[in-house]
């Protein structure tokens, strides 16, 4: 296999970037920005907490793994046979980190000098797993404390419970970190199995933005990366009904005012996931944003406050429109949202406001080109979601009012919505 290079352009802000299919199988996205001091590099695999049942074309049977293993693997990969990757990075001065989400695991660093040395560390430790029983046991204590920290966090609990309400089977309903029990089932063998499946370079991407020479990246990849066989990964997601599993979940925590998250479960987009997400964000802004009468009325009446916010969450097999915040009366918030949806379904979206919303989103797109981190992350997300270029500004310009109307017709059905609430502890015992 040969390395193939293409030059692309974020046209509106005149920024060039390169997309390279490296001979090893890895996709490399590079946005050189010589006017910046630092470089931000992300090495990611399309593998997150939702990939719980899988096989490759080389396997006979499917493998099922314990909840939280993708996140556990992320922690453990740092610990190499010779030394911890943090120790290696400490010699270059790079600021390194990693994260696991529902659908990806990313290893990253930001550096203002010794970029090539840092990149070498990144490429090396992610491609050299080393797991033993002792190191796996030790990590269970640390991750156990991470899980417990989140158990006291109302924002996380209310979000996770919303996913538990909306989905019957899809693994998006499982905590990314798993539970203290599930991670106790993790063994070095299982870690190797998942590693060998998902850390295949054909399933990964290297995204770099900032002050660096593209050739230096290619040279290092040539030197360090062995060709991965392009095996197909088959993920199994259980059949997910279109209706919700539970209408409501409530949990008590030691907090001052109820937290709520309201979600509308939608049919996920099979392609153009990011474009779909953008359409939903524009719809929500048009109907519920700070410039709407809905917002003003409910804000003035004290039903919502400044904590009110919205989000669209999209991925492999899930798409959710989310409303969240803090309120003394979350049920009332739920009612006013449903009433507003009914009203707009009857009366239609307001075309006069479309241009204003499109401008707002165009501006947001321009803002996103302000940082090396933002650009590297956007390139990586676009690649995982679309497998082709994604120029947020051109896409925003191309969206039409009719398209929004059609999408609104299909979405926001109150029967397919749920509410999750975390309320202040009522009794001394409190915890559930």
């Amino acid at each position: 296999m040969k390395t193939v290079k293409e030059e692309l352009l974020f046209s509106k802000v005149d920024k060039k970037y390169l997309r390279i299919k490296h001979k090893s199988g890895l996709t490399i996205l590079l946005c050189p920005m010589s006017e910046y001091n630092s470089v931000y590099a992300l090495f990611g695999t399309k593998y997150g907490s939702i990939n719980t049942k899988f096989k490759t074309s080389a396997d006979d049977d499917f493998t099922c793994v314990p909840d939280g293993i993708a996140h556990f693997l992320e922690h453990k990969l740092f610990e190499g046979e010779v030394e911890d990757a943090f120790v290696s990075y400490s010699r270059t001065g790079a600021n390194a980190n990693a994260y696991t989400s529902f659908d990806r695991t990313c290893y990253l660093f930001s550096a203002s000098e010794k970029f090539e040395e840092s990149l070498e560390i990144l490429l090396n430790f992610v491609t050299h797993p080393y797991f033993t029983k002792e190191t796996v046991d030790k990590e269970q204590g640390i991750i156990g404390q991470e899980i417990k920290m989140y158990e006291d966090n109302p924002s996380w609990c209310v979000f996770l419970n919303l996913l538990k309400c909306l989905y019957w089977q899809h693994p998006v309903r499982i905590d990314i970190a798993g539970s203290v029990e599930s991670i106790s089932e993790i063994t070095p063998e299982l870690l190797y199995k998942t590693y060998n499946t998902f850390y295949n370079l054909n399933n990964m991407v290297l995204s770099v933005a900032g002050n660096f020479e593209p050739d230096s990246v290619l040279k290092l990849c040539d030197k360090l990366l062995k060709q991965s066989e392009n095996v197909e990964i088959e993920n199994v997601f259980p059949d997910e009904p279109s209706d919700v599993y539970l209408k409501k979940l409530e949990k008590e925590l030691d907090i001052s005012m109820p937290y709520f998250e309201i979600g509308f479960k939608e049919t996920p987009d099979k392609q153009n996931i990011l474009r779909g997400q953008l359409l939903n964000e524009m719809l929500i802004e048009m109907i519920f944003g700070e410039s709407t009468d809905f917002y003003k009325k409910n804000y003035d009446e004290g039903i919502i406050n400044s904590t009110f916010g919205t989000e669209v969450m999209a991925g492999d097999g899930y798409l959710i429109n989310i409303f969240g915040g803090e309120s003394e009366d979350p049920e009332k918030v739920y009612d006013v949202i449903c009433e507003e949806i009914d009203r707009v379904k009857k009366e239609g979206l307001c075309e006069e406001r479309f241009e204003e919303i499109r401008r707002q989103f165009y501006g947001k797109g321009v803002f996103s080109f302000n940082s090396v981190e933002g650009i590297a992350t956007a390139m990586l997300s676009a690649h995982f979601a679309e497998k082709n270029e994604f120029d947020v500004l051109s896409v925003t310009e191309g969206i039409t009012f009719n398209e929004l109307c059609e999408r609104f017709e299909e979405q926001f059905v109150s029967e397919r919505s749920s509410i999750s609430v975390v309320v202040p502890t009522k009794t001394e015992k409190g915890q559930d």
Binding site: Y299, G302, R359
Partner: protein, 427 residues
Amino acid sequence: MATEFKRQQILDGIYFTEVKNDKFTSNRISVNLVAPLSLDTASAYALLPLILKKGYRECPDFSSFNRALNMLYGAAVDGDVKTFGDCQIITLSIATINDKYTIDNEEVSLEAAKILSSLVLDPVIENGFFKESVFETEKQFLIDSIKAELNDKGSLALSKCKQIMCSGEPYSISCHGTLETAESLSLTDVFDHYNTLLQTAHIEIMFAGSGNADAVREVMFSSFSSCIEREKPFEIKTKIKKPSDQIKRVTERYSIVQSKLSMGFSVENPESEKEKHALRYAVALLGGTPFSKLFLNVREKLSLCYYCSASFDSIKNVMFVNSGVEEKNKNKAEEEILNQLSILKSGDISDDEFLNTKKLLNNVLTSTEDSISKLERYFLARIFSGEIITPEKELEIINSLTREDIITAANKIKLDTVYFMAPKEEE
């Protein structure tokens, strides 16, 4: 591309600072009003940005105001309050894209500057005061925000530790004031405080990012000079924390799963900028990096926690160490934290630790210039601390520090307060 830094006094006690770099696609303009942190005014001042950011005389309706912002390519208005040493900072800001990225070459930054100055200087007035309904709604939100300090146990433990450590000093006051001071606010009082604040605050206006800063400064100059009469502006200062004779220990119980340990340390007064940086360096060595003594020992070696980190407030001269642990491991964690501090004091610092911490501090400073918000934070902090140096100059100081400087600095750190937040007994 170098960042241009320019600061000038435009009126009595009002400064305009530009931190400009054309590599950015946007800019942020902020008006920062600095006042002494006092229980008498903290809640009133905290309420002001909440009221002011809702609209101004010419555009009093919140929905129309937001539609206008949308037409300015999603210009983002924000208002917030924070503390800085013994001072309180009330900020209103607006962020817009650079004019050259607009579709029809519109002057959005200029428009943004006008809106921002109107928000600060020309609020919506009804019967001689702020609009009562807005006052009531935002007062309730302030009260709710104070109650909500309970929700984040990590930062609650830290502020409890601060309160115990610096009890009776302005530093111990929250940027929102207390529940009592917020509940007792009246419309007339808040309006009076608003006028006093405009007359007496030290005012820092900052333009950060790319675009026409000169035009923005002109707008600010003309609106501030025609709108307010200044009295003698407040002089920014913070009293340094004195070491206590006795260690203060407090344990409190909450309905929580994970306990929080928050330890406060006083630091002998550093005499020079160099000593201050040596302290920053020492604190990073102790617990500011993923290869620091606390991270490698308390977390990695003993597996006691997910996080254990140290932070230094160079204005008040205090250090804090924070961690989330199991209750049964509290003593073990505390002992190991103190043990690591005394190892640092004894000078047991490897070459790697010394050099690598320096590299990381270098990286943090160098990348400051790659982000509008980091630049803004950096320069405002330097301005408020009274010692304005650029990130490059700061790098020079850090790179000149020796191991001895660090050990001397570490020996000025002394345990003052141990706050422990534990689960209720039944668990």
